[in-house]
């Protein structure tokens, strides 16, 4: 049996997927969700083999929902927007169905999924290189989901495979790399001043010399962030010094 969860905020859009799936006796639709939060719960509860996922949904998008998953099931995106196709590809989606889609097109997508499943092709994990324009960061905090606009972040600190994110509301952990944030945050506001630190320049109150030829940043919150030799020129450039 193939377990399926459908996640779409428009009931009729979810219904047509369910409809089309009726001709596959081996497939069982376990739940239909209308937002990403319910989607996360359903995925955790049912551990589906395949999800149908809309992109634009309340509060968090389909892509953001995927980011919060530890184990990603196979994904078929269903959306009316064609501009997300590249991102879907980056997210190792099985297929990308543009609404409205035909039964034939739907069957092709499922066939693709079956083939991948039979050949044991790894169905992926969200790629680091998601061309996400980072407007906000979606975090999991003790089972709760938090959405933090990046401008609320004071600084990022490397922590093994994770990154500590310091905001006005406290410290959060996210399983992304420093490289990811360095690449996707707006470079005029966030500077990687150190191998282990990315700082929000609007938070800096003072740059103090430290030891021989090092510097340390004093932030509004009182925190101190070290600046490395290679980080200092980058910081100077952004600050226009």
């Amino acid at each position: 049996m193939i377990k399926v969860v459908i996640i779409d905020d428009e009931p009729l859009a979810a219904e047509i997927v369910e409809d089309f799936l009726e001709s596959y006796p081996e497939i069982k639709v376990l739940q239909i969700c209308h937002d990403g939060f319910d989607g996360l719960k359903a995925i955790k509860n049912h551990e589906p083999d395949l999800i149908f996922l809309d992109v634009q949904m309340p509060k968090i998008s389909g892509f953001e929902m995927l980011e919060l998953l530890e184990v990603q099931p196979a994904v078929i995106f269903t959306t009316a927007f064609d501009e997300y196709a590249m991102r879907a590809f980056d997210a190792h989606a099985v297929d990308y169905l543009l609404k409205p889609f035909s039964k034939v097109r739907f069957e092709q997508a499922l066939e693709k999924f079956m083939k991948m499943r039979d050949s044991n092709t790894p169905l992926g994990r969200v790629s680091e290189d998601l061309a996400t324009p980072v407007e906000r960061i979606v975090l999991k905090d003790r089972g709760e989901i938090k959405i933090v606009p990046y401008s609320n972040v004071r600084y990022f600190e490397a922590n093994d495979d994770y990154v500590n994110i310091y905001t006005a509301d406290g410290k959060f952990l996210k399983n992304k790399t420093m490289k990811f944030f360095e690449k996707h945050l707006p470079p005029t506001q966030f500077v990687r001043v150190h191998r282990s630190y990315i700082v929000n320049v609007t938070e800096i109150t003072k740059i103090e010399p430290y030891e021989k030829d090092g510097y340390v940043l004093l932030l509004k919150s009182g925190a101190k962030v070290p600046v490395s030799k290679t980080g200092y020129p980058k910081l100077k450039m952004v600050l226009g010094l």
Binding site: E10, P58, K59, P100, F101
Partner: protein
């Protein structure tokens, strides 16, 4: 022209001086044909030209602040007349003092008093005519330029309209809903097709320069809401509250629908669960106030692209009324309120 010449480059001034000198010598030459004595003729001519120059300068400055409109020909003649008399009298006095009364020129100058004045009048009049022509040309050019700008703006607005109104995702998602309804509820599918077609037809046919009554606009808005209702089902509910006096007000077409669309979009994607959108129409003073309220969660990071719709609405209002203060946005802790004021005393036929 004199003012300009004075302000302009040296080359201009040389040319002007040359023309004045030729004029002085020309007049002196003509005069000395009648009464011999070239030097005297030159003096008389120079004095007249000097005063004339001042007179024309005066004339130019008068017309800078007062340009005769329509049929005020008499007023238009009055100024050159005054100037020529003034110049004539002034030149007469100067000659009286500078010329010996026994000089043959003295007698000659006063003999031709009337002719002198007439020539001065003709010169002043021609100059006034040139000034008038020039100002007419200039204002015509300005009008043309402004027309051009307005046309350009209208075109932009139209293009934007096409993009905004026929938002492809709205269309595709609606079609997807129809596709979904077809098998199990074909009657509803048909109803949706009719609704969507009607909405599109109205959108395409609309001329954004025309004004419609609030009631007519409401019909259009309800069509739109009806489609969204089918798409989002129980999650979306919209209420319209129309004050009695507001019903007879007029609104520019295609102005309110984008605001409503924005509110629905941000309501549906900004919060979880059921979303109620409230729309109010009320007449306050000379303004029709249209208020659209959607639930909102300021803690959530705004989705990218936020603000574009609002900028467009602001621009549209500016294009229509030339004012920046007609859009008001209030962010409360859980509600997002957009209010526009549509002046009812505005000339509704000649906008854009």
């Amino acid at each position: 022209m004199i003012t300009n010449t004075l302000k302009h480059s040296a080359a201009h001034r040389y040319k002007a001086t040359l023309i004045i000198l030729i004029w002085i010598f020309g007049v002196a030459y003509l005069m000395h044909l009648f009464v011999p004595g070239y030097l005297m003729a030159l003096l008389v001519s120079a004095i007249h030209t000097g005063y004339l120059f001042v007179g024309l300068f005066l004339l130019e400055n008068i017309f800078k602040y007062y340009s005769p409109q329509g049929r005020h020909y008499l007023v238009f003649l009055l100024f050159p007349l005054l100037v020529s008399i003034l110049v004539n009298v002034a030149a007469g006095f100067t000659l009286e003092y500078s010329l010996n009364s026994s000089d043959p020129y003295h007698a000659f100058v006063f003999q031709i008093d009337l002719i002198r004045w007439f020539v001065l009048f003709l010169v002043s009049l021609s100059y006034a005519l040139i000034l008038l022509l020039q100002s007419k040309l200039e204002s015509q050019l300005q009008v043309k330029e402004r027309e051009e700008q307005v046309k350009q703006l209208a075109k932009e607005a139209e293009l934007y309209q096409l993009r905004q109104q026929l938002q492809p995702h709205f269309l595709f998602n609606s079609l997807n809903s129809i596709s979904s309804l077809l098998r199990k509820r074909p009657e509803e599918a048909r109803a949706m097709i009719v609704q969507l077609s009607e909405f599109l037809r109205k959108t395409i046919r609309k001329d954004e320069r025309k004004w419609v009554s609030v009631e007519e606009e409401l019909e259009y808005l309800q069509l739109f809401v009806g489609i969204e209702q089918v798409r989002f089902g129980y999650r979306l509910s919209t209420s319209f509250d129309i004050q009695e006096e507001a019903k007879s007000c007029k609104v520019p077409q295609l102005l309110i629908q984008p605001i409503l669309e924005n509110a629905i979009k941000h309501g549906l994607y900004g919060v979880l669960g059921e979303v109620g959108i409230d729309v109010f129409f009320a007449l306050e003073d000379v303004y029709l106030k249209v208020k659209v309220i959607n639930p909102y969660d300021p803690a959530a990071g705004q989705a990218p692209g936020e603000g574009f719709g609002q900028r467009a609405i602001k621009r549209r209002l500016y294009l229509l009324f030339g004012r920046h203060d007609l859009l008001r946005v209030v962010e409360e802790s859980d509600r997002y309120i957009v209010e526009i004021s549509i002046p009812q005393n505005y000339d509704q036929s000649s906008n854009n």
